[in-house]
Symmetry: C2
Subunit: 221 residues, 2 copies
């Protein structure tokens, strides 16, 4: 297809496509004449991925370039490729906690114990593990260390969700599509769970506190 068709199908404007080619994010099309190039399905797939990494994942151009380099390296196993993409997103959102911040030592022990208890083979250096340490340390600092007692309730809920996520991802074959669905599923799935948890709060609170006509009370801002 020509660049105009690629633009229509991907929803990405022509000048933006040319910019991605200049930046090395998108391979150039095959030249059919001195000033005309032909693009294929691979270009469309890669454009979708670039947009997902940028718009949904919030990645910078240099982070996108790094993810694409990993995808294009045939020596990198799929698990590693997914990890690079997922960790890039994690690190932008995580609640980081300094080594010396109050509550950090306790939080690190809680996370190590959790990983051992559940048999999750994840390094404690994993960005998500560090993010969890940050959350637990923040709970301790806010005087709510007791909330960490809910860790296993939360982990029990996280496991089936993670398996469903991975089933969704595994429907893809091309590496671009795998990574794209990881990014979309990780970011929007997190927002989806957050909204559902809050909806379930409203229902649970209505049952607990609002017996009569207050059932929809929290629905009104």
């Amino acid at each position: 297809m020509r660049i105009g068709e690629l633009s229509r199908r991907s929803g990405v404007p022509v000048p933006t496509i040319k910019f991605y080619v200049r930046e090395g994010l998108l391979p150039p099309g095959e030249l059919t004449s001195p000033n005309q190039a032909r693009y294929g399905d691979g270009h469309e797939r890669r454009l979708r991925l670039i947009r997902a990494l940028m718009d949904v994942g919030g990645l910078s151009l240099s982070a996108i370039a790094e993810v694409l380099t990993t995808i294009d390296d045939p020596g990198q196993p799929v698990h590693e490729v997914l990890g690079v993409a997922a960790n890039r997103i994690t690190s932008t959102e995580s609640v980081e906690s300094g080594e010396a911040e109050p509550g950090s030592a306790e939080a690190r022990e809680e996370v190590a114990a959790l990983l051992a208890r559940r048999g999750w083979r994840v390094s404690e250096d994993n960005p998500a593990a560090r993010s969890l340490v940050g959350v637990l340390a923040a709970l301790h600092r806010a005087g709510h260390g007791g909330f960490a007692e809910l860790l296993d309730v939360y982990a029990d809920a996280a496991e089936p969700v993670a398996h469903a996520d991975l089933d969704y991802v595994r429907r893809r074959v091309a590496r671009e599509d795998l990574v794209e669905s990881v990014v979309v599923g990780t970011v929007l799935g997190e927002a989806m769970f957050g909204a559902l948890r809050r909806l379930a709060h409203v229902e649970a609170s209505a049952r607990a506190y609002g017996e009569t006509d207050g059932a929809e009370g929290a629905g009104r801002p």
Copy 2:
């Protein structure tokens, strides 16, 4: 106690306490001499709540004032008070979607069907419901409308988490403490689940893709 003791116990500097009193967020202490006032446990409790709303919930001073007014109104039922606090947080974080944006109509129908299917008595105007509409619309726009098939898996996971959250909140008696635990639990609980889901992804991906030595692959950034 004197203001210095209140400051030590709450960790809030004296000038900040005075600022909160001037702004009407904290009631003045009881005057014991022309330039000395006595503060009680109620002041300490309210200070903790103000800090949680500000530091954890990310609320503005005017939003905090609104939450406190609701707490202090004996005519407001507890369910309503919790709703005001929760909705204040929701609205700052939500993925909003315009009425006319592509995918919104479909997303609204999906959310209405979900609420009916699960028997959740929540208004479709609820900020969390609107946030869910925004997430689903974003999925449709990203070409991942199929991810919405996981809605019930996610909702099944959200329910026990929401009940555990509410059990945690219900240990409190004073309205300030109830609201404070709602804010802390909602915000940090969301981050806690997000981190756990990502950890569970690493484990699930290691099982699915990394058979040999790749088990901790995604743990290395």
